[in-house]
């Protein structure tokens, strides 16, 4: 290849190199998005078929109590479960960063292994363990982890079990990347390990904390697999509209409301997208995404 100076000197190669990615981006992201947007502007009924309906589907979604309850549920879930899990992950990360013993290495592995388990299988296992009569809590007098009042907490436990170790490892990796001298000097000044952990280490890995938080939020707003798998165990508590994603899935696949489903998907995508951007914007100085 001829070497040219100037801004476009690798133009051909550059375009060639990004072509596979760009094609995939268009085919599996932009086109589906455009298609969902188009679908969401139509309305189809079982009897009459498809008609153009402007924003009727969106209007219906915003006024749909089942959809709204689902949205509120995942927001509550995200607001409670995300901080709990990230806090746990942070504590674990600080612990294994501080202690170097055989137990801490073992713990690191034990906490991380659930990440390797497919969500479907992880949820199936907890489903068995939650069973009120044959499960873990069968002897804990009357506690039913699958009842309407407790099932959201039980779902939170599945998510925490699956992802806390993963987030721990990510934060731990960030901790390991810190220059040791900074807190060695604090140690010489008489700071204890707890103080060092909270005042020095935690602020220094805030970028990583922000990122794992964002990705956790994106994940919880799309909450789907766990409730879908637990649903047969108590369909009264976990309804078809339990989370917005489940609602969209059932609208499309159980009730054939593809247009309404597309509107919900689009709305959900927009909320997640805008939500994560606001979060990134607010924390932009700490965030690592450039």
């Amino acid at each position: 290849m001829r070497i040219r100076k100037g801004p476009g000197r690798h133009a051909a190669a550059g375009w060639l190199f990004v072509t596979p990615f760009t094609v995939l981006l268009v085919a599996f992201l932009l086109l589906p998005m455009a298609y969902a947007a188009k679908l969401s502007l139509y309305r189809s009924t079982l009897v009459q078929g498809e008609v153009f309906a402007w924003l009727d589907n969106y209007r219906q979604a915003l006024g749909d109590p089942e959809f709204r309850r689902g949205v509120v549920r995942v927001i509550v879930f995200g607001v409670v479960q995300t901080p709990v899990m990230i806090a746990l992950a942070l504590v674990f990360a600080l612990l294994i960063d501080e202690a170097t013993s055989r137990l801490s290495r073992f713990f690191r592995l034990a906490a991380f292994v659930p990440y390797a388990v497919p969500v479907v299988i992880g949820t199936l296992m907890w489903g068995f363990l939650y069973s009120p009569r044959t499960g873990l809590f069968s002897s804990a007098g009357g506690l039913d982890p699958l009842s309407g009042d407790t099932v959201l907490v039980s779902l939170g436990n599945v998510v925490t079990w699956q992802w806390a170790g993963y987030n721990m490892i990510v934060l731990y990796a960030a901790l390991q990347g810190l220059p040791r001298e900074v807190y060695e000097s604090a140690r010489i000044d008489g700071a204890g390990p707890v103080q060092i952990a909270l005042r020095i280490k935690t602020p220094m890995i805030s970028a990583a904390i922000v990122l794992v938080t964002i990705f956790t939020i994106i994940g919880t707003l799309q909450f789907f697999t766990e409730p879908l798998i637990l649903q047969p165990l108590n369909p009264g508590a976990i309804t078809n509209s339990y989370t917005p994603n489940m609602y969209a899935y059932h609208q499309a696949f159980s009730y054939q409301q593809y247009n309404y489903s597309a509107a919900i998907s689009f709305l959900l995508g927009a909320v997640v997208f805008i939500g994560s951007y606001i979060f990134l914007f607010v924390t932009r100085r700490r965030s690592a995404l450039r």
Partner: protein, 304 residues
């Protein structure tokens, strides 16, 4: 990204630094107690799974969940697992492996090319495309599964291995990571030197950039493979032929059939439990064997 290093070696170097943990005896005991308790929490479901796999349905429904009981039926369960529906489980196992290996290597190759181009090659539209990519990292992929299905059915690609593999090749985050990594770790002088020696751009990429990007490539590969192995929603929607199912969708089908009760349902609980155990064994072995790569690579995952 600024505080995160991608270098696996610094991790290992840091561990060798002597610590003065012994001074804090009480704190050490407390922190080890916490770790011990939490390790039990994280491992408990695995223990249950191991125990449960040795029970038949009677044992599953009628004995203590965390201890052996009833007849020892592990081998019976396993033989049923591999013969149920004409041994379809083995197909699922093979499919999961196929999807995760092909998607893993494919996505990594695509991301490596693009990440390198974004970092090191100048071409018109580069900045605009990269900005678009940053925005699209935040798009919730599950919301796109249904429209993707409808689009793919237009071209007749649903219910084929491609319906699962092609969408999995798109990994904007992998591109982003590799772009950052290539930016920091591929020296421009070496690229120029190779070009002056007369190497074409693709050759330069293969012989100079790829070796320098190796640790990050391994990470992206591992993450994509695990993500595809664990993927559920996409294959659930795309595939109807159970010969094409990955493990996750297949096991769900059995579970569905076990919990449906009405005509055609089969209480396959013991088979499902055995199937779950067999399904996670390869992953756990891979985890233990590749521990070094996870740790080295996960520094990069600090932003994943």
């Amino acid at each position: 990204m600024s505080t995160v290093t991608l270098d696996g070696t610094s991790t290992r170097a840091a561990e060798r630094t002597p610590r003065r943990t012994a001074r804090f005896g009480a704190g050490r005991i407390a922190s080890h107690a916490v770790m011990a308790v939490m390790a039990v929490y994280f491992l408990l479901p695995f223990w249950w799974l191991l125990v449960a796999a040795t029970k038949n349905n009677d044992g599953l429904f009628g004995s203590q969940p965390l201890w052996f009981g009833g007849d020892f039926s592990l081998f019976d369960n396993l033989s049923r697992l591999f013969t149920q529906d004409d041994g379809v489980y083995l197909k699922w196992l093979r499919n999961s492996a196929l999807y995760s290996v092909v998607s893993g290597f494919g996505a990594t190759a695509v991301a490596a090319l693009a990440g390198y181009a974004f970092a090191k090659l100048r071409f018109p539209g580069r900045n605009a495309l990269f900005a678009a990519l940053l925005g699209l990292i935040m798009v919730p992929m599950t919301a796109l599964v249904l429209p993707t299905y409808l689009l793919m059915s237009e071209i007749g690609l649903t219910d084929s291995v491609w319906a699962v593999i092609l969408p999995s090749l798109l990994n904007p985050f992998g591109v982003y990571l590799l772009r950052v990594y290539a930016h920091d770790s591929v020296p421009d002088e070496m690229l120029e030197a190779a070009r002056i020696d007369g190497a074409g751009e693709f050759r330069v990429f293969l012989s100079v950039a790829l070796p320098a990007m190796r640790p990050a490539l391994v990470t992206v590969l591992l993450f994509t493979m695990v993500a595809t192995w664990n993927n559920f929603f996409l294959p659930l929607v795309m595939l109807s032929d159970d010969d094409l199912f990955p493990l996750t969708v297949g096991l769900r089908t059995w579970y569905q059939s076990a919990t449906i009760g009405s005509g055609g349902g089969q209480a396959l609980f013991n088979v499902i439990v055995a199937g779950s155990l067999v399904a996670i064994i390869p992953l756990i072995i891979a985890f233990l064997l590749l521990q070094r790569y996870w740790r080295g690579g996960l520094t990069i995952g600090a932003v994943k």
